[in-house]
């Protein structure tokens, strides 16, 4: 019985699952960087923490997802706080460089500590997420929807409003007595936690973790979130989903894939600088309110 009859083959189902996880990568990037304006250029490090930790554990003990998800959540949230503490006072390009450096160190370590990490080859033999492709897809989908929903609700809440005030002016917030360090650290923890969980789920999904599926994500998370639209979680998530989907679909074009992808990026940033889905959302709202006036 096919609950999801759209997917005639597993290829599409696979693409769908990955696109959904990439949506979480983009959304979790947005939660820290889109909201507080601290542009994280090393999001891959947060993803790596979750993914590689599960890889390490798996090489000695076949850990199952129901254990690794809470573990990845706790460890990557703590990691986010530890990275946040020394870097949160840095502004603009200095913060970006510091996070970039963290991810670069991670990447170098993953290659050079090959006894532990498997180097370029990565770590194989991680327990699969579930027994079947379809159930794995549902697992991933449920996680992604929950993660995006939680971040969306947090973003809409008073907590999210304070994060947005920091993006605009930290001094103005401090003058009112807002404890800006607490909020920045919390944003770090939440962002890192969801990136880490997503990383651990990817490891279980592929049964594998390696540099090729982690380190390009520093840049890609930014691109996906910015093209989708920052500061609202859902537009960034949709950006992640569709760009991943498009990129996979375009892989048929072989070498042209990268070119087409880049063209999409350039066009969207030129014509829709606030993000494709932020733009569409605003359009829908104005049409809705016009309809309401009638």
């Amino acid at each position: 019985m096919y609950i999801f009859p759209v997917f005639k083959d597993y290829y599409l189902l696979n693409v769908f699952s990955i696109a959904v996880i990439y949506a979480v990568y983009a959304a979790s990037w947005d939660f820290l960087s889109g909201f507080t304006g601290k542009e994280n250029f090393g999001h891959a490090a947060f993803i790596a923490i979750g993914g590689y930790m599960i890889g390490f554990i798996s090489s000695v003990y076949p850990i199952k997802p129901f254990l690794s998800i809470p573990l990845a959540a706790v460890v990557s949230a703590i990691f986010g706080i530890l990275i946040g503490l020394p870097t949160l006072k840095l502004k603009g390009p200095y913060f970006a460089l510091a996070t970039l450096a963290v991810a670069t160190i991670f990447e170098k370590l993953s290659i050079s500590l090959s006894d532990l990490t498997g180097g370029e080859e990565g770590i194989y033999g991680i327990e699969f997420l579930t027994q079947g492709q379809i159930s794995s897809f549902y697992f991933v989908l449920t996680f992604a929807v929950l993660a995006i929903l939680i971040m969306y609700i947090l973003g809409k809440s008073n907590f999210g409003l304070i994060l947005k005030s920091l993006r605009s002016d930290e001094d103005a917030a401090r003058a009112l007595g807002i404890k800006i360090n607490f909020y920045k650290i919390s944003a770090f923890a939440v962002s890192s936690m969801f990136a880490g969980i997503a990383g651990s789920i990817v490891a279980h999904f592929y049964g594998y973790i390696g540099p090729d599926i982690v380190y390009p994500l520093s840049l890609n998370s930014i691109i996906m979130a910015v093209v989708g639209g920052i500061g609202g979680i859902v537009p960034a998530a949709l950006g992640g989903f569709f760009l991943t989907f498009i990129s996979e679909m375009l892989s048929e074009f072989g070498d042209w894939n990268q070119l087409l992808y880049t063209v999409v990026l350039i066009l969207s940033t030129l014509f829709l600088p606030s993000g494709i889905f932020n733009y569409l959302g605003a359009k829908i709202r104005t049409i809705g309110s016009k309809a309401g006036e009638k």
Binding site: K164, D169, D171, R174, L176, G177
Partner: protein, 250 residues
């Protein structure tokens, strides 16, 4: 003992002494003005009292507690709030949400019990600050006059004991100044909030304050009522020029 006692406040930037042993106090419910030419050190006094710049020496006693060197967050929680000479609205959100951020500060978290109370308080501030017609406008779209009002409104939204207003009238027309001036007086008279005002718009300044501290080159050169200050020789030399009296009496 006054509500706020500033004793020998000293700050040096490299070779420049920005505040040279400045001493003055602010009583509860008082409206004090700080007067002085550009670069005299007025904003630097505010920066130190509000915790944004650490003084090199002196005391800042607020409610009997020495708050010198404390963080801006700590000082705001105690009840001293400052505005900025160059307005700092929260961009990417509307006026209502700007004020909401203020109500989410630790000071107001203690006073506001639930979201209904929060809404009421924000609406009250919007009302007295005459921001109603722009309450749901993004601050990115607001003209300077409204941004100046919002700057004052945000500071009043945390129910401060002392507000430090840094040139709230700069760049505004007379008709734009009047409502802001009214709000300041209202906060002062209704809630007993002490006001410390820096302003170059002399006419409005002198009408608003009860006592003036005159500053030049980082030093206090005079203190007194507006009437006394405009007759003070040192103040005339450094700042007012001739015709100071006309300004006050006009």
């Amino acid at each position: 003992m006054a509500l706020l006692d500033i004793n020998n406040l000293y700050k040096k930037f490299g070779g420049l002494v920005a505040t040279n042993n400045i001493t003055f106090s602010v009583e509860k419910g008082e409206r004090v003005g700080i007067l002085g030419p550009n670069g005299a050190g007025k904003t630097t006094i505010f920066n130190q009292v509000s915790g944004f710049i650490k003084p090199d020496g002196g005391e800042i006693i607020f409610n009997g507690e020495n708050i010198i060197g404390k963080s801006p967050e700590f000082i705001a929680k105690k009840g001293i709030v400052r505005t900025f000479q160059i307005v700092k609205p929260f961009k990417g959100m509307n006026v209502y949400d700007n004020l909401k951020v203020a109500t989410l500060s630790p000071k107001m978290k203690e006073e506001i019990k639930n979201e209904t109370e929060r809404k009421k308080w924000i609406e009250y501030i919007i009302d007295i600050c005459e921001l109603k017609n722009v309450a749901y406008t993004m601050t990115d779209l607001l003209p300077q006059g409204y941004l100046k009002k919002l700057e004052v409104a945000k500071s009043l939204a945390i129910k401060p004991k002392v507000v430090l207003l840094d040139e709230p009238f700069a760049g505004l027309t007379h008709s734009e100044i009047e409502p802001i001036s009214k709000v300041i007086i209202k906060a002062n008279e209704v809630s007993g909030t002490s006001i410390v005002l820096i302003e170059h718009r002399l006419k409005e300044f002198m009408q608003l304050v009860e006592r003036v501290i005159a500053i030049d080159y980082g030093e206090k050169i005079a203190e007194g009522t507006p009437e006394e200050i405009v007759k003070n020789k040192k103040v005339i030399e450094s700042y007012l020029g001739k015709g100071g009296e006309e300004i006050v009496n006009s």
